[in-house]
Each structure stands twice: as C-alpha cells, then as structure tokens.
C-alpha cells in the first residue's frame, strides 16, 4: 500500500482511495483530488511539510497529515 506521502518528487501516481473525510475531503475532491485521477508530486517544502502536487493541470499544496490518508499507486 503506497501513500501519497511515499511518492518521491517528480513521480506520478494514480489515486486509488481518497481517505480524507468530512468537509475537507469534499473540498479536496472539488479541487480535483478524486479517485482515479493521476497526479504528480512536484516538491516538498523546505521544512519537510507540506507537499506540492500537480493535479488537473494546476498545482496544489497539502499537508502530510492529509496526504498520508490518500492511497495511490505509482505510475510510470
């Protein structure tokens, strides 16, 4: 099981389970972080958190707390 936090910057991954629940979970979905979506990890902040991902053609940042709840599979 790979979590979004395990994906190295520069790598792409497909979301297989969106584990963030509640209003925040809904918000992530509205921002395009939905199951089946392929995203790319762009970078990690200088202090190690949050991370920046590319999704639906734009960039979004989220903390590891939430990223750790998103289960993905790395794609080539």
């Amino acid at each position: 099981m790979t979590r979004l936090t395990d994906v190295k910057p520069g790598k792409k991954a497909r979301i297989i389970h969106m584990g963030v629940k509640g209003p925040a979970g809904r918000r992530y979905m509205e921002m395009g972080v939905v199951r089946g979506e392929t995203i790319k990890v762009v970078r990690v902040a200088p202090l190690g958190d949050p991370i920046e991902i590319e999704v639906k053609g734009y960039n979004l940042s989220l903390r590891k707390d939430e990223a750790g709840l998103i289960i993905v599979e790395v794609v080539k």
Partner: protein, 671 residues
C-alpha cells in the same frame, strides 16, 4: 427609461476577477462588507446601451458547496438574490478545474455568461479551446478574454447585455448523473416542487444538494417545513452508498467526468512546457534557499514601506501640528480651543498618521498576492506555523505586526479558516510594533546603559514567545482541534499590475479610515476629555480625571514598584504607545521630550529601579494594543466580544508577566 439590472461576478481565486471587475466598472466602485460577516463586498456600476448594470463582485470560490464563509456568501447571493446574470470568470489555462464551478453555477440555475480569461496563457501552454463549441454544450455564451491587456471587454458587455435581455426563457444545461441516481433526483424534484417554502430555488438543484448532504440546503428545506423530503433524501443517500459510492464522492466524480467529456470535445491539450514560473519556483521554494529568500523579501518589504512612509508620516505630523497652532491662535474660548486642537485635530491626526504605513504595506502585499508569491510564502513557512497551532498563511500577518499591527490584522483576510484567522488576530498585537520602540529606547537608555540593544531585543523576543504560547493556549481553550487542513492552490507566477495594486491599496486604506477611524477618533476625544477635565483647558494635568484614574489604579501597580505617573502614562499609551514617552515629558515638565532626552532619563531613574523599569517595558509591550489596533480588531472580527477579550487578556497577561519579572528580579537579588 433605462432598465436596471444586477449581475454578479463569480470565479475561482487567481483568475483575474478583480481586473475584470475594474475593467467593467472603472472607478464607479463601492467597497463594504456583506451583512454580518467580514467578507468584502464590492459593488460597481456601468452602463451599456439602454441598460444600467450593477455589478457585485462575489468572493473568489472554488465551488458552490459552502466550505468557507466566502463560498457561503457567494452561493447565498446566487441562489437567494438571483442576479439577472452571473459572469463566471474562467482561467482558460486551468480550464479543467475552473469548469467545476461553472457546472455548479449552471446546476444552481444561474444565467451564466462565461468569461474565458487568460487566453494568452492557455495559448502559451499550447492549448487550443473551441469556444463556440463550449458555448453550445454549456448553453451559455462564452467570451474569450485577456483582461490584463484589456482584450474582450466589449464582447463581454455585449454578451451580458444579450443574456439579460433574453433572460426569461429559461434553459439550463444538465449533467446526467446516471440512470439510478437520475430517477432519485427526479422523484425528489417532485417533492421539492410541492413544498411551498422552496419555490424560489431550482428544484433540481435542491434535490442534488440534498443528496450531497449539504447542511445549508437541508436547513432551508427544514425551514420550508418539509421534513418528509429530508427523510426521503436520507434513505436515497443510504441506497446510493450501498449500491454505488459515498454520495458526495459520487457527485464530485460525475461532475469531473462531465467536465472531462466537454474538454474531450473542445480542448486540444498542449504539451507540458517548462515555464518561467516553474523556474522561479525552483529558487523561491528551494530546499535551502527557500526560507532565506522569503526572509529577504520580508526584510525588503519592511525597508521599503517604512523608509517610504516615514517622510509622509512626518509630513502629516507637521501638518496637524501646524493646523493645531492655527486653530489655537484663532479660537479665543479656551475650552473650545482645547477641544478643537487637542481633541479633534489631535484625534484626526492620530488616525491619519497610520495611513502611509497602511497604504504602502497593502501595496506591497497586493503585489505579492497578485504575483503568486504569497502562496509560496505560506508553503515555505507552513510547517513552523503549524507547530504552534497556526497555518502558513498566518506568517506574513505576524511578521507585518513588527511594523504596525493595524495593517497586519487587516492582512489576516487571506486566511480562510475562521478559527485560524481569529487566533492570528488575537495574538498579533504581541508582535512588537514600531510605536513601542520609543518606550524601549527611553527606558533602556535610562537603566541599561551599555546593554540597551540586548534589552530592547529581549522585548521583541518576549513578544514572540508570548505570541507562540498564547496561540497554543487559545487553540487549547477556545478553538479546539488542529488548524484546518491546508488546501492551497499554488497559482503560476504572474506579473502584478501597479494599477490593480494601487486600487487594492486605496480600498484597504479607505476601509481603515471609515471603520477603524471612527473608533480611534472617538477614543482620542474621550482621552482628551479625561485629561482636560474637570479642571478645564489649561489646568494642570495632575488634577484631571486621568490623574485621578492613575491614582485610583496605582495600588494595583504598587507591588510592581510603579508610581501613579507610570499608571497615568499607561492610560495615555492606550491611544498610541509612543505617547507614553510624551506623557512622561509632560509630568516632569520637559516640553517636547523625545525618547533620547537625558533629563527625562535622569528623572526616570528616580522613579524606577532597573527591575521595575524592565517590568514596565514588558507591560508596555503587552498591555492593550493601541486604539487603532482595537478599532481594527473590531472591524476584522466583527465582534465586540472578541475585541473586549483581546483587550482583557492582554491586560491580564501584561500584569502577570510584569509581576513575574519583578518577583524573579528580586529573587535574583537585583534591586
């Protein structure tokens, strides 16, 4: 006669909404607040052919489900006020996510005109969008634009005009949600149609929102007195989650599927190109350079704002001094003279003196926001701020506090989460603003010769430590839980325009004048009254109400070793902290004493010991922020309760810290 219509601008953040609003309405704007909340409401007007059009600029939103107050405001306006048209501004270069809102607007039954902005950026990315096809599918006009270059405004005005004219014939694009769910929606629609309390809303929208478990809509239905619909929706929801998926996920999925289908037809995707923006990010959010670069930017901001502001502030000071002299030499009645010069002119002056700082800080802040750097600053600092119970977005306001807490607190508007924002506002005054420096310089120069620098620095440090502790404590006591999850877009870097930053600066400045200005003015007049009466103009300050107050509260400060003068000076410091220095000058009969005045320092050495002086400095740092800050806290929290709380906790904290310093000083054997 010209017809009057209302339109609203809606769109995601960072899509050039403000530029389009300014382009449509020119200078005919009015900035206020939405009733009951501290969300900015911008109104503007323009005329096109025979139509007088009022434009409401809705807050930037990613969707129409009310996640933040901003979105709630935007949605309520669209579904309750039903504007004649909603101009949906879409960033063409980021069309996929932007269309999600478009779909929701159409679903809510709005008469949408799509302004497809930033076509140049989309082209630069190699994207090609068939706007006619898009318009056909959405059943809504689509106007390609490059707003920053002024391209597309005429077409947009025409499209709005046409849309409003044919307004009555309703035609909505609908997304299909799959056979099973559609059946449920149609059946719910029927029930909604029978509920008299829900007449004004689009039936299909209410049905879908119920299935999405939207709390606000459920409340609307409850208020409409149709409990049975809620029960029915609930059982359908259970059904959907058993057979298909969690309903919320299901609807979001379907909407994006629909957007994908549209884009499959109208969009030719470009290749990923390496942009200047990517290059900038390599440096600005770099592992090693990111933080130093950020700190350098902040330092430059300070240097710029304060070096540019100082001459203006001096000029304002001189001007009001001159005005006071003119007034006093022309008014013979002493009571009236004192009221006009010390009360009114002094009062207006103490409001206006803040303006240069506020204007400039907001100018720079707006440049940073429009360029996209503000999100990077939050990205870089988030972890550190998260540790103390805040979010990365709180960092810039906290830092600005070292300059002046007033614009710093106004800058918290970029923090969406209300709890995060309140904490940031409440601890911000602990950042030692520039007005407190004269007090430190006066006392450090009198009692800590040779180590003035370190002593003054310790004050700043004390403020930071207290801010961290208070933030943690407030989180524990009043705002349980973690800071809200970070869901922050990192927009591409864009060249900010001086014009839009100047407009932004003007809006903030005038808002400060109108809102906080009144409170500050009143406060100054009250203080003037208390320091002049009952003796009347020209009488000794020692006979005034303020002095009585000082004597009256002095016993509280006696354990700290302070006399009544110290207490009275603090009362004056309430207006603005640097006035503490001036108040001492008055007490010791030294006219025009500044913080470097040696006679004043000598006099102080008789009234304080190093320990009690240090405690006094700490107290001056922490106790009630100045009137302007109180005014702005009221304006930004929209609550007297939190404003009074801020004042009360800072009083208590100041006393506590001063007492600890005094006790520790005595224990360690200092006099």
């Amino acid at each position: 006669m010209k017809s009057k219509v209302k339109i609203a601008l809606a769109g995601n953040p960072n899509v050039g909404k403000t530029v389009i609003f300014n382009g449509l309405t020119g200078s005919r704007q009015h900035v206020g607040n939405w009733p009951g909340v501290t969300v900015e409401k911008k109104l503007g007007k323009y005329t096109h052919h025979d139509m007088n059009i009022e434009v409401v600029d809705l807050p930037g939103t990613y969707s129409l489900s009310p996640y933040s107050i901003d979105e709630k405001v935007a949605r309520d306006y669209i579904v309750e006020e039903k504007p004649d048209a909603v101009v949906n501004i879409v960033d063409a270069s980021n069309i996929e996510r932007n269309l999600y809102l478009t779909v929701q607007l159409l679903e809510a039954g709005a008469n949408v005109v799509v302004a497809l902005n930033m076509m140049d950026e989309a082209e630069a990315k190699g994207m090609k969008i068939d706007t006619e096809k898009l318009s056909e599918i959405l059943k809504a006009p689509v106007v390609p634009m490059v707003a920053v270059k002024g391209i597309g405004f005429k077409d947009l005005k025409d499209a709005i005009y046409e849309e409003v004219k044919k307004h009555k014939e309703h035609r909505h694009m609908s997304i299909g949600y799959g056979r099973e769910v559609e059946k449920a929606i149609v059946s719910l629609e029927g029930d909604v149609g029978k509920c008299p309390g829900l007449k004004k809303y689009r039936k299909r929208w209410v049905a879908i929102k119920l299935l999405e478990n939207d709390k606000e809509v459920i409340q609307k239905v409850r208020d409409g007195g149709c409990m049975d619909i809620i029960k029915k929706a609930e059982s359908i929801r259970e059904d959907i989650s058993k057979k298909l998926d969690d309903p919320e996920t299901y609807f979001a999925d379907k909407r994006y599927e629909f957007v994908d289908d549209i884009l499959g037809v109208v969009l030719i995707k470009g290749k990923k190109v390496w942009t200047f923006s990517d290059m900038l990010d390599k440096v600005l959010t770099h592992k090693i350079f990111g933080i130093p670069v950020f700190l350098a930017m902040m330092w430059a901001t300070f240097q710029f704002t304060f070096s540019v502001a100082t001459p203006f502030m001096d000029a304002i000071d001189v001007f009001f001094g001159w005005l006071g002299n003119v007034a006093s030499s022309n008014i013979s009645n002493p009571a009236l003279q004192s009221l006009v010069t010390d009360g009114i002119i002094g009062g207006v002056g103490s409001v206006l003196i803040f303006l240069p700082n506020i204007f400039l800080l907001f100018f720079v802040l707006s440049l940073m926001e429009d360029s996209g750097y503000l999100s990077r600053a939050a990205f870089v600092m988030d972890k550190a701020m998260y540790k103390i119970g805040l979010s990365g977005k709180s960092f810039v306001p906290m830092l600005l506090g070292f300059g002046c807490n007033v614009p710093a607190i106004m800058a918290t508007r970029t923090i969406e989460d209300r709890k995060d924002r309140l904490i940031t506002i409440l601890v911000n005054p602990l950042m030692s603003c520039s007005a407190r420096l004269p007090v430190y310089i006066l006392f450090a120069g009198a009692f800590f010769i040779g180590i003035e620098g370190s002593v003054i620095f310790s004050m700043y440090l004390l403020g930071i430590v207290l801010a961290i502790l208070m933030s943690l404590l407030l989180r524990k006591l009043f705002f349980r839980g973690k800071p809200s999850p970070l869901i922050m877009e990192m927009p591409p870097y864009r060249m900010p325009t001086v014009k839009s930053s100047a407009i932004h600066m003007w809006e903030k400045g005038s808002m400060f004048l109108k809102k906080a200005g009144t409170i500050i003015f009143l406060g100054v007049v009250i203080i003037w009254f208390l320091s002049t009466y009952p003796g009347g103009a020209g009488s000794d300050i020692e006979n005034s109400y303020v002095a009585m107050l000082g004597h009256w509260v002095q016993p509280i400060f006696a354990p700290l070793g302070w006399d009544w003068k110290a207490a009275v000076a603090l009362v004056f410091g309430f207006v603005a902290k640097e006035i503490v220095v001036g108040a001492y000058g008055t007490f010791y009969g030294i006219g025009d004493a500044d913080e470097e005045n040696q006679i004043l320092r000598g006099a102080l050495q008789g009234a304080f010991t190093p320990v009690s002086a240090y405690a006094y400095m700490a107290f001056a740092l922490i106790y009630v922020p100045c009137l302007a800050t109180i005014g702005v806290i009221k304006q930004e929290t929209g609550s007297w309760k939190w404003t009074l709380f801020a004042v009360a906790y800072m009083m208590g904290l100041a006393y506590l810290v001063a007492a600890v310093i005094t006790a520790a000083g005595h224990l360690l054997g200092f006099a």
